[in-house]
Amino acid sequence: MKPMKHVLLLVTMFAVALCAPAFAAGKSIVLDGSTTVGPIAKSFAAYFMKKYGVKVTVSESGSGNGAKSLINKTCDIASMSRAMKPQELAAARQKGVSPVQHTVALDGIAMVVHPGNPVRTLTKAQIADIYKGRVTNWNQVGGPNSRIVVIQRESNSGTQEAFKELIMGKSAQISKTAETQASNGAIKNRVSSTRSAIGFVGLGFVDRSVKPVAVNGVLPSAASVKSGKYQVSRPLYFYTNGQPAGNVKKFIDLSKTPDGKRMVAELGFVVK
């Protein structure tokens, strides 16, 4: 069985090599949740790891998953782009979890179209009609004759919930023909490559590849979100189980420090 020995030797060597950098760090901080809050969470994590040497891991699996993880006590901080729903709060109480809300930043939900689309502005009612499936062609809202490709987020998304609440009213149904994408980045990609598409993404994700349209005459920007002129905006949250303490508290309070505020602004979000 000589080859077997070689294999074992190799595996042991690998294991030793991997063990070498092993360090028994203190308890790490685990974040789970929103893809919209993702850039902030990731930047905070990198900053925190560098400054305090505490390990922070960030998952981006959607606000709904963040809430579930917090309820199941599998994360320290749930990042969410919407407030917790009454059902989630009830489920949390049942499991002995008491979610505490911390606002990290403000975010506008930008309605984005392909840069080649001549439409510059839409009213809330027009957007609602597009998503309800009542308006199906760009020429009905002042654009060229082209069928609108409507893109929405998955049901797990906090951005989707906030969009529905802010634009369509809670009970309204999004048209069944709307296409679903699973993250802000995916919507941006789809819209930037589809001339007749419309979608919505967090303000931090808007770049040159897509064009934000003005909603009720106001373009989304840090200033217009902060002043409240741009109406499709919502706060972004970190949720903890009970009042945070120790490193978790330090992490949450990062959003109140000058460096934290700078990071939020540099990422294109709005400092509260």
């Binding site: 069985m1 000589k2 080859p3 294999v7 690998f14 294991a15 991997l18 063990c19 950098p21 092993a22 360090f23 028994a24 760090a25 790490s28 685990v30 893809t35 993702g38 850039p39 969470a41 990731k42 930047s43 990198a46 900053y47 790891m49 390990k55 922070v56 891991t57 960030v58 998952s59 981006e60 699996s61 998953n65 993880s69 199941n72 006590k73 599998t74 840069p115 080649g116 689309n117 001549p118 002042g142 654009g143 060229p144 082209s146 699973a182 802000n184 980045g185 995916a186 990609n189 007749s196 931090g204 994700f205 770049d207 040159r208 590849s209 460096d259 700078r262 990071m263 540099e266 990422l267």
Partner: protein, 448 residues
């Protein structure tokens, strides 16, 4: 059927066979060539001085004397830009308000484009995010940024009945009559002196941690995480799988129960991997609570369940292919059944079992869905072996997906994504290659 028809049928069958092999070869080429070509670009590329500065500041790599000389040389050319900027800003102050406002609106994007090329300009507040501390680190990207600096992308909305077309306008034209006009040809002409491109071999891509969520640095945490997850899955699945296969082939009586077990095993092999992922979350994390959060342990267990059917199948086939005479000879010499299995059957079946195992290892390394909810995170440092029971880890498969779709700067860091893909494909190929070699060696030994 006459001979002629038979010959035609025979030939056409051969032709179809060769044809399908050719199609497969072409498909493989189409898939592999861009992966290899673009993936290599993350290690071998033309790096700028910004890359060397980044390496020195973030990882302490590089020679400080050489770097200081280089920075001084590039700085001499950059100071020219900065003085043009301050001259223009002074000029702005003395203009009439309307003209000033118009030019300021155009000047903002010029500054942004310069920042993208050369990093923070004098007077900029110090950036907190590492991505804004440096200019372009790669020469190919720098050339794209140069285009953005020289030309403004505009859309022609003149025809309201059609989607607009993109066209480019020279930014310099907008500053006609001011001192800034000179800046554009200056940067275009001196870009290589400003950025000092140099062929770079950045092995650190494989051994460094990422900086500022993969915008700089390497992919070591991902490689290590993939390795941990795959090996962990094997540690659970391989012994279990072989034992189950021995049971199926040597002990189980043919009957209702056994056939149920067999079909259950086959069904398990066909279950979509996302189902295993959700099962892992519900069972290992939420019910058994093997760890407080997602962890390598939970991910490995989930992957183990996923690859178990394949391993059982492969081991079963391998054991069945051992000639009956081996077993009979052993038993006839008075050996017990257990002893026969351990000393005769399993060694003879080992090449087949190992092949099945290593191929499953490759599959475990490449799966995304089972680890989304059980082990993978988009940002995290490399973990030590001591942390596998409690810590989640970044892993290649998940981070490739994350960079492709969720990352806020996905378009800027395609090379990292390709690098990860190449690393993953490389790992899986290496595993499969080692399976082939191992099999060949052991077979030779057995025959020998």
């Amino acid at each position: 059927m006459n001979v002629g028809t038979r010959k035609i049928l025979d030939r056409s069958f051969t032709a179809v066979g060769i044809g399908s092999i050719v199609v497969m070869g072409i498909a493989l080429l189409i898939v592999i060539v861009p992966i290899v070509f673009n993936g290599m670009g993350s290690v071998f590329f033309t790096g700028t001085i910004e890359h060397r500065n980044m390496l020195y500041n973030e990882f302490g790599k590089g020679n400080s004397d050489v770097l200081a000389r280089e920075n001084a040389a590039a700085g001499a050319y950059r100071r020219e830009i900065y003085s043009m900027l301050s001259k223009f800003e002074a000029e702005l102050e003395s203009m009439e308000p309307e003209k000033q406002q118009e030019l300021r609106a155009q000047y903002g994007p010029v500054r942004t484009a310069l920042q993208a090329l050369f990093g923070p300009l004098p007077g900029d507040p110090e950036a907190v995010l590492t991505r804004y501390k440096y200019g372009q680190t790669r020469w190919d990207k720098a050339q794209e940024k140069l285009h953005e600096f020289l030309y403004e992308a505009k859309w022609d909305y003149s025809d309201p009945n059609a989607m607009a077309k993109e066209y480019f306008v020279s930014r310099a034209a907008g500053f006609e009559g001011t001192s800034l006009v000179k800046l554009f040809p200056y940067v275009e002409k001196n870009l290589d002196r400003l950025l000092r491109p140099e062929f770079t071999v950045y092995w650190g891509f494989l051994t460094d941690s990422s900086v500022d969520s993969h915008i700089f640095g390497g992919i070591w945490p991902e490689i290590q995480g993939t390795f941990f997850l795959a090996v962990g899955a094997m540690l659970f699945a391989f012994p279990l799988g072989v034992i189950a296969a021995v049971y199926f082939t040597e002990y189980a009586q043919d009957g209702f129960f056994t056939s149920m077990l067999r079909s259950a095993n086959s069904t398990l092999a066909g279950v979509p991997s996302i189902v295993f992922g959700l099962f892992g979350l519900a069972f290992f994390i939420n019910t058994l609570k093997v760890s407080e959060s997602k962890s390598v342990l939970a991910g490995s267990l989930t992957l183990a369940i996923m690859i178990l059917p394949t391993i059982i199948r492969a081991a079963e086939e391998a054991i069945l292919s051992v000639p009956k005479t081996y077993k009979e000879a052993s038993l006839s010499l008075g050996s017990t059944k257990w002893n026969t299995i351990m000393t005769v059957i399993l060694p003879a079946a080992l090449p087949g079992i190992l092949t099945g195992g290593v191929i499953s290892l490759g599959r475990a390394a490449g799966e995304t869905a089972p680890i989304i909810f059980t082990a993978a995170v988009s940002v995290g440092s490399a973990i030590g072996l001591a942390d596998v029971f409690s810590s989640p880890t970044p892993a290649l498969s998940w981070n490739i997906y994350n960079l492709a779709s969720e990352h806020e700067a996905a378009a800027e860091i395609r090379h990292v994504q390709y690098g990860m893909v190449l690393a993953l494909v490389g790992i899986v190929l290496l595993l499969n290659l080692s399976a082939i070699l191992l099999r060949a060696r052991i077979s030779k030994k057995l025959k020998g």
